[in-house]
Amino acid sequence: MDSVPILKIGDVLLVSIQTDLQDEAVMALQESLAERISSTGASGVIIDISVLDVVDSFAGRMLATVAAISRVLDAETVVVGMRPAVAITLVEMGLSLDGIKTALDLERGMRLLSGDGALA
């Protein structure tokens, strides 16, 4: 089972989803991310999904759950890198990802978390 690497950049934890995540990998990611937020005191989490060519409701629920866990641990989550076709599909399917902040790319996501997102 591939584990998802979690990188620390300043106060931000960066999670790059590399491949289609299966149930066990999702559970492992949620646990290790929660632990890293707690141990590092990170204030933000960026989830890069630029590799994903499909985001179904399972993956959407995974993103929402990770964001909710992070929020409870006082870290804000931004999902970056969503492909245009994925965005169109999510909206048409009715999956609006309410409560999840998004940014076009990693750079904008970092700016959003550093508090000057309005300038992005």
Partner: protein, 132 residues
């Protein structure tokens, strides 16, 4: 014409069904957005087959109708079946761990959608997406 069947018995199979649907959609010359919608619908349906149907199989084929080219995917299980189809197609309705968008969401992403199901006899969902 391409016609392939894959079992759906675990998570890895759901991923393989997605990959198969994607490759057939490319063969059928669906646009990138059409491919993405179809593959997403297939992912929802394959997961339903696994989660609610207790496993089953998917058949994927490249079809044509006159000059039209498209993809048909059929998902079969021998699970408990769906007692109330209207309810199952309602957004937000879920009997399990999803977001309640699986069946209704999948229907919105394809051009043709049909469900055959009755309690005790399993469920068959057929979807078709045409290249524009």
């Amino acid at each position: 014409m391409t016609r392939r069947e894959l079992p759906i018995n675990d998570d890895g199979d759901v991923v393989r069904v997605r990959q198969l649907v994607r490759s057939v959609a490319v063969d059928a010359r669906l646009s990138l957005v059409e491919q993405t919608k179809l593959v997403t619908a297939a992912s929802e349906l394959a997961r339903n087959t696994l989660t609610y149907g207790g496993g089953g199989a998917a058949t994927v084929e490249h079809i044509t109708n006159g000059t039209k080219s498209g993809v048909r995917a059929i998902f079969r299980d021998k699970g408990p079946g769906i007692a109330d189809l209207d309810l199952a197609l309602t957004d937000g309705y879920t009997s399990g761990k999803g977001l309640g968008l699986g069946l209704g969401g999948a229907r919105r992403l394809v051009d043709e959608f049909s469900v055959e199901s009755s309690p005790g006899s399993g469920t068959t969902v057929t979807v078709t997406k045409w290249a524009r």
